[in-house]
């Protein structure tokens, strides 16, 4: 039993470690035969905000004989206390150490959290390498968008869940329970059967062979019946997807402390740098009536004061106005506000602004991503300067005076002219504010804030083969941009280029990186996603000492006919489509979004109802019936 008076004494934010939230699931251990510890490799405030974790927690707990608990990365002050008191990492609900669980699952959302995965395993006293774990150790499983290239983590995980887990993880629990029951369970036998379920990748069953230059020569399967590639799982009918009718309500402040109403999955746009936009295809929507019921149900279970409509591009949800209408029927009188996390300038209207309370605040956010129309065409960000300025006009007329613009530098084909375009576009926004007759007067005029990230070429995007700019080049571009921004109303923020470089190494990495991660753990790395704990130099030292050349994964670029580390994974989209998209990018050709035209990316073979594939294809007289690759 944990003694909270001792373990939490003088610990910052003790509320992170107590669990016990209203809405958590507690079960009687004696009636449970399969226990999951769902780990989020970051602190409580971040992990508790994760929608995927909420969904999977609830879908696993829907079964009486399965119990899923939560675990987050302890902050370093707690790490020290745990080591002093020899307290192994525990799950919040039961307080039991992770090593007692059947499954230890990690949600892998960003590469810089990999060091925290090993940090948590070590604090739990679980052997880091899958080959060192025995029959009695927990099965370590990973899921989330990083598992589209799970290779850098291959040595540490027993298996990966590829794609959406709401159906597959309960199936995996079923398999586990039945094999335990009939006595056929061994870890190896279980993992073999799991690979037959679909959507599960067991890295130890595939051996990777390399050419002398380090590129991949091929993959060798351990058993004949294993699939050549592991196809991701999707929820075909999104209306019938498991819905958590209750959810844990944190006591302490978290990043997303509100109802998150997932209106659709996937994004129909097809920006060429965006991994999420590719790997979550096909787009599936929920019906507004169902969403309204679900929102009400969550409100009654939580008392939350805000509902955030969530998805990659909410304003593309086809029945947004019907949905907001239904919601406003009851939210206004209960003082519940509506929020939209992402807005597109081309679909931004006065009507929308009036309905969404967070848009009523003074800041408005858009993501043009590139400074010139030429480059926006290259990246397929189909939004024009006119649309951005028009959207700003709407906002300025309604009294807003703060605009936040997201850009990325380092896109393929980028020149200084494109960088200057960022500055010009921002100045045009400033200018259009002073042109607006109904603008807010006083309060210091307009403020345009630029947030400029560095491009990381991600797997399963048309840009997956691209070179990443060198550190020097990115820093040069950042300085250049600083020099061309002269407007005093424009505030320029940019991300650390060094972080983007490490992120790229792991996003595009292969199994050789496992030894770097292991060494990083030995040297105590953790919380690399946090500026105060990230050290570029320390990473370079690790790479040097483990004979990893970061340039190989970043500035080298990958050949189009090279075997890629993630070729074992099938996210639905074909390589042919990605290649064609890449070539179209270089030709400056835009590709219409899925709502206008189907460009045959391959995702339709995954099936799905209420998808754009069905609608668009049937318009062209075709069907999205499963087709082979």
């Amino acid at each position: 039993m944990l003694n909270y008076d001792i373990i939490l004494k003088n610990i910052s934010k003790p509320g992170r470690y107590i669990g016990g939230e209203i809405g958590q699931t507690v079960k009687d251990k004696s009636s449970v035969h399969c226990r999951w510890a769902f780990c989020f490799p970051d602190c409580y405030e971040i992990g508790m905000s994760n929608l995927g974790l909420r969904l999977l927690y609830s879908s696993l707990n829907a079964r009486d004989d399965v119990w899923c608990e939560r675990c987050f990365a302890p902050w370093p002050d707690m790490e020290q206390r745990m080591r002093e008191t020899a307290t192994p990492l525990w799950a919040l609900e039961s307080g039991d150490p992770l090593s007692l669980f059947d499954f230890v699952a990690f949600s892998l959302g960003y590469e810089l959290s990999y060091t925290n995965v090993l940090y948590m395993l070590e604090l739990a006293g679980i052997p880091l390498l899958s080959c060192d774990r025995g029959e009695d150790d927990p099965i370590v499983i990973g899921g989330g968008c990083c598992t589209y290239n799970p290779e850098p983590l291959a040595d540490f995980f027993d298996l990966f869940s590829i794609g959406e887990g709401e159906e597959s993880l309960p199936e995996l629990s079923d398999l586990y329970l039945s094999m335990k029951k009939d006595g056929s369970y061994t870890k190896e036998a279980f993992l073999r059967k799991a690979s037959e379920l679909g959507g599960f990748y067991v890295p130890s069953f595939y051996q990777v062979h390399y050419h002398p230059d380090g590129t991949i020569a091929g993959f060798e399967k351990k058993y004949d019946e294993l699939p050549d590639t592991v196809q991701k799982r999707i929820i075909r009918n999104f209306d019938k997807a498991h819905f958590p009718s209750k959810t844990y309500i944190p006591y302490i402040d978290t990043v997303q402390d509100r109802i998150m109403l997932e209106v659709m999955r996937g994004c129909p746009r097809g920006c060429r740098f965006c991994q999420a936009g590719m790997v979550y295809r096909p787009v599936r929507e929920k019906t507004p009536e169902l969403l309204n019921e679900q929102a009400k149900c969550l409100y009654e279970a939580t008392g939350y004061e805000e509902i955030s409509l969530s998805s990659l591009s909410v304003s593309d949800y086809t029945r947004l106005s019907r949905l907001t209408e239904l919601l406003l029927e009851w939210t206004d009188e209960r003082r519940v506000s509506l929020a939209l996390p992402s807005l597109r300038a081309d679909t931004f209207t006065k009507e929308l602004m009036d309905r969404i309370s967070t848009i009523r605040t003074s800041t408005l956010t858009f993501a043009p991503e590139a400074g010139t129309q030429r480059l926006r065409d290259v990246i397929n960000k189909n939004v024009t300067e006119e649309e951005i300025l028009r959207a700003c006009q709407v906002a300025f007329s309604a009294g807003k005076n703060q605009v936040k613009l997201y850009f990325m530098i380092g896109h393929p084909t980028e020149t200084n002219e494109d960088l200057s375009g960022i500055s010009e576009l921002s100045s045009d926004v400033v200018h259009s504010f002073y042109q607006c007759p109904d603008r807010e007067r006083g309060r210091g005029g307009i403020q345009v804030t630029l947030s400029v990230a560095a491009f990381v070429p991600k797997p399963f995007t048309p840009f997956q083969w691209e070179k990443q700019d060198s550190l020097e080049e990115t820093e040069r571009k950042q300085q250049y941009l600083r020099s061309v921004i002269t407007d005093r109303k424009v505030k320029y923020n940019y991300h650390d280029a060094k972080v983007g470089r490490i992120e790229a190494v792991f996003a595009r990495g292969d199994r050789k990186l496992g030894r770097a991660l292991l060494e990083a753990r030995r040297r105590g790395f953790r919380f690399d996603a946090w500026e105060e704990y990230f050290s570029y130099q320390a990473w370079m030292d690790v790479f040097r000492d483990t004979e990893i050349d970061p340039d190989y994964y970043t500035t080298r670029g990958f050949g189009e006919d090279e075997i890629l580390p993630w070729d074992l994974i099938d996210c639905g989209i074909t390589k042919a489509f990605l290649k064609e998209e890449r070539h179209r990018a270089y030709a400056g050709l835009v590709t219409p979004n899925c709502m206008e035209h189907c460009s045959g990316c391959g995702a339709a073979k995954l099936g799905g109802e209420e998808t754009w594939c069905n609608r668009t294809l049937s318009r062209c007289g075709k069907t999205a019936a499963p087709k082979t690759n």
């Binding site: 003694n3 939490l8 004494k9 509320g15 016990g20 309500i249 402040d253 008392g303 939350y304 004061e305």
Partner: protein, 251 residues
């Protein structure tokens, strides 16, 4: 740990089923005073988190909470006394405004149904005294330390009964003050297996609020008891709240 049903034994002055309906003259709201306990793991959440938790519980319970006007409407809650993170209390009071009259029983039942026993409303009534009339709070402080002994308990007893100069820090200043005027009827006893129990009343008035941590700090510096060690800890439980006479229960 404290059992959630051991609330302060108070004579029940307020009929459970009579509507609380004293209208606030200006804005037609009703102010209701609730007495509640914050126990168990909830001792680790801060005052701000507590406010948010209460607000959401009121909404889940569908109680007729009044919202302030303006851009960010929120229920209005005023608390009688602050409580540090890590300390439990059986006896907290807060005033909250409602839009229509309800009975104490309705309020308590609806609220407690949507909470889990670590935050429990055990009293509701129209306010009897002013919130600022709360003056003494009674505490049980338990120190667990390997050096605890009957003789140490005796020494601590006399420490708390005499003048007790401590360094009090505010945001800007540090000064030595004698805190003994803010301690009432202290008594220290040895509890067995390395535990010492301190019972006392401490001042909770706005001007002279004395945090129980001063008593712990005074003992640890006088007797060299470190609570940073893994085998030692303290716990604090606020048990009741009184007026300036130290006897009349606050309501």
């Amino acid at each position: 740990m404290v059992q959630p049903n051991t609330f302060p034994l108070r004579e029940n002055r307020c009929p459970e089923d009579q509507l609380m309906d004293e209208y606030h003259p200006q804005n037609e709201t009703i102010t209701v005073r609730i007495g509640f306990a914050k126990t168990g793991l909830l001792r680790f959440i801060s005052h701000l988190d507590l406010q948010k938790t209460m607000k959401r519980a009121f909404l889940r319970a569908d109680l007729p909470v009044w919202f302030s006007e303006g851009y960010n409407p929120h229920p209005k809650m005023v608390f009688a006394t602050p409580l540090s993170v890590g300390m439990e209390s059986l006896c907290e009071f807060a005033d909250i405004r409602l839009t229509k009259p309800i009975t104490p029983r309705m309020l308590k039942d609806s609220f407690n149904r949507v909470m889990d026993g670590n935050l429990t409303v055990w009293h509701a009534s129209t306010p009897v005294f002013k919130l600022t009339d709360a003056y003494w709070s009674s505490y049980e402080i338990v120190l667990v330390h390997p050096n605890a002994s009957p003789s140490l308990a005796l020494e601590m007893d006399s420490l708390y009964k005499g003048p007790l100069p401590v360094v009090k820090r505010t945001k800007s200043t540090e000064k030595e003050v004698d805190i003994s005027p803010f301690i009432r009827i202290p008594s220290v006893s040895y509890e067995e297996v390395g535990a010492i129990r301190i019972r006392c009343q401490l001042c909770v008035s706005n001007t002279d609020f004395l945090n129980p941590s001063y008593l712990i700090a005074a003992a640890s510096s006088r007797f060299g008891l470190s609570f940073d060690r893994a085998d030692s800890h303290w716990s604090v439980l606020r048990t009741d709240l009184f007026l300036k006479d130290g006897v009349t229960p606050f309501l």
